[in-house]
């Protein structure tokens, strides 16, 4: 009988190993292979193609534009994310659950839809077009619209990271701070913010990754003006269309590198946050 049990155990172990191998194979095939392909293509084209691409004014401008859009998006979603999360968790008001649901809309919408909505609002003949036209501000087919749609798409990340942490921390520490004489602002900066800092950082990292990689909405509102409204992802899109594949792959490799770097940052942040959470 013990022999039978022994074979059962061996069978289960073989089954488990099979599953692990399957998972690893799946991950390698779907997630790593594309990265490997890009690295391989760039390596094959040689170092000269890298330096050639990365010194082109269009490419440099594209990276610069991506950086501007990303930094502004992170700042805006960071500040508003903290405020909205705080209101959602700490305040009780009519429509709170509605707001809670609305916050997730950007997750559900296709970025292309978001871009089209921006055209309806700010595009030629759009609702707000006369307002900005009268003031000589170019919104659509320019940086403002590109930033706006990116912000819209990135809104949920910080909020969704901070809300559960705020909920878990509860009100006690903030109450304690107030009974000790601290103002609302002092309480926020010295007690609440330090408690949500890793969640905020994690949210910012996710937002950055998303903002850098965004293409659908930006594609529609940018008007694709080469050297003017072309972000890094749009550059790749156009370069590929125009069969400048070497350039496209080099820029793609840079973006992939940034993403992998961010991924490492995100992972380490998550570890710190989990460590923090076990403290009570």
């Amino acid at each position: 009988m013990s022999v039978a049990v022994g074979t059962q155990v061996a069978k289960a172990r073989r089954g488990r190993r099979g599953l692990i191998a399957l998972t690893l194979g799946w991950v390698a095939l779907l997630l790593l292979l594309p990265l490997v392909a890009i690295v391989w293509t760039v390596a094959k084209a040689g170092l000269s193609s890298v330096t050639h691409t990365l010194t082109q004014p269009d490419v440099l401008h594209a990276f610069q534009l991506t950086a501007i859009v990303t930094v502004i998006t992170v700042l805006v979603t960071g500040v508003f994310g903290v405020i909205v999360a705080w209101v959602l968790v700490r305040q009780r008001f009519h429509g709170r659950s509605l707001l809670n649901a609305i916050v997730d809309i950007p997750f559900a919408l296709s970025p292309v839809t978001v871009g089209l909505a921006a055209v309806v609002l700010f595009g030629p003949g759009g609702w707000f077009a006369p307002f900005f036209q009268a003031r000589g501000i170019q919104v659509i087919y320019a940086l403002p619209a590109m930033i706006l749609v990116t912000i819209f798409i990135c809104i949920p990340f910080t909020i969704r990271e901070i809300v559960p942490v705020l909920e878990e921390i509860g009100l006690d520490e903030e109450d304690a701070s107030r009974t000790l004489g601290a103002s609302v602002w002092h309480t926020f900066f010295k007690v609440t913010l330090p408690n949500i800092r890793w969640a905020l950082a994690y949210g910012i990292a996710l937002t950055t990754a998303r903002a850098i990689g965004e293409i659908g909405a930006v594609l529609i509102v940018s008007g694709l003006i080469q050297g003017k409204t072309e972000t890094a992802t749009l550059f790749i899109f156009r370069a590929y269309e125009e069969r400048q594949t070497a350039e496209a792959y080099v820029v793609a490799l840079v973006l992939a590198g940034v993403s992998v770097g961010l991924l490492i940052v995100i992972e380490s942040l998550r570890h710190r946050q989990e460590k923090e959470r076990t403290r009570t």
Binding site: D172, E173, D175, A176, S177, R178, T179, L180, G181, A182, S183, H186, K190, V191, P194, N195, E276, T278, R279, T280
Partner: protein
């Protein structure tokens, strides 16, 4: 330096739920007043209203001559200790204690000195640089107490401060808080559902039930002269015997329990008798009872008795006084110091443990 707290007719509603209804009492200066009641009786809400963490829907609260109800939380300068410590988890023990002093912009020198004194007082000097998660529950609560005391508050409010601790630590901290209070003499309000804690620590007890004050009195008064059936049943164990008022006594079949002269003749009444007031083999107007079960509590025994009418009765009897009576024997039982009330609803006949 200590000030009394006067709570005058405060009420609090949460939606349609009336958490606190017209509560009035005075916490004498320099004493410990316990707010005692089961969970949901509104005692914590009263405490939070005194601190300013909740706003009353009506009534006023005074600290000495100052009206507290018009002030913000920050201005009230009360020390508050939370059940779950509420320590700032990202700050060291020393920084936690210094928080209230920093807010008041005390100089670094004053701060360091005061933090040193307080950590000494709560016996945590070696732990100054530790973080809350590196401390035990009892240590954390002592840090919380030091933090609350640091800005020298006029009153100390403690919301179930030992509720999250295990029994042994709770006992130690209770004794330690008692000594600390003797030393500091700060007016203190202690919210607790633990009657033992209230009886041991408090100079005055406010018993609360369903948002209302049932009785205010010294621990002795609360225990020996309960003003309402709720207090009689909640504070200390008691047997509840239901009967009818006849001739100033509560009658249960053949048994007559005295002390019902103030009740209406013929009314349904409940008589409360403490387990240690049930005397076996007593002389005089006793009644027969059958011993159903005897369990040892050390030097005394917990004896479950059945009265002729079928009611059960729990008695705490010194082992010697049992004179060898065992389960099944019939003994003579006398009921001392019964407290009779108009019968509340008839739920279960015995509350004794």
């Amino acid at each position: 330096m200590s000030t009394p707290i006067v709570v005058d007719g405060i009420s609090k509603r949460f939606g349609t739920f009336e958490a606190v209804r017209d509560v009035t009492f005075t916490a004498p200066a320099g004493a410990i007043t316990a707010l005692l009641g089961p969970s949901g009786s509104g005692k914590s809400t009263v405490l939070r209203m005194i601190a300013g963490l909740e706003e009353p829907n009506g009534g006023t609260i005074f600290m000495g001559d100052e009206e507290l109800t018009v002030k913000s939380v920050q201005e009230r300068q009360v020390g508050f200790v939370f059940q779950h410590y509420a320590l700032f988890r990202h700050m060291s023990v020393a920084d936690n204690v210094a928080f209230g002093l920093r807010v008041r912009k005390e100089s670094k020198q004053t701060r360091d000195q005061r933090v040193g004194e307080l950590l000494d007082l709560v016996q945590l000097t070696p732990f100054a640089e530790r973080y809350p998660d590196q401390l035990s529950g009892g240590q954390r609560q002592r840090v919380a107490l030091a933090r609350a005391l640091a800005p020298q508050p006029q009153v100390l409010l403690l919301d179930e401060p030992f509720g999250a601790l295990d029994a042994k630590v709770r006992q130690d901290l209770r004794r330690w808080l008692d000594e600390l209070h003797r030393e500091l003499g700060v007016t203190s309000l202690l919210v607790t559902h633990d009657q033992e804690e209230a009886l041991e620590l408090a100079n005055q007890i406010v018993v609360m039930h369903e948002g209302k004050v049932e009785q205010v009195g010294s621990p002795g008064e609360i225990y020996d002269e309960p003003a309402t059936p709720f207090v009689a049943g909640f504070v200390g164990a008691a047997n509840v015997l239901h009967g009818e008022v006849v001739d100033g006594h509560v009658h249960l079949g053949s048994i007559r329990i005295p002390g019902a002269a103030h009740l209406d003749e013929g009314a349904a009444a409940a008589a409360f008798v403490r387990p240690h007031d049930v005397v076996v083999n007593g002389n005089g107007g006793g009644t027969d009872a059958v011993i159903e079960r005897v369990s040892s509590l050390g030097w005394l025994s917990r004896v479950a008795l059945r009265l002729p009418g079928g009611e059960t009765l729990v008695a705490h009897i010194p082992n010697d006084d049992l004179h060898g009576a065992t389960e099944g024997s019939t003994v003579r039982v006398d009921l001392r110091n019964p407290k009779a009330f108009m019968a509340p609803e008839r739920d279960g006949s015995t509350l004794a443990s």
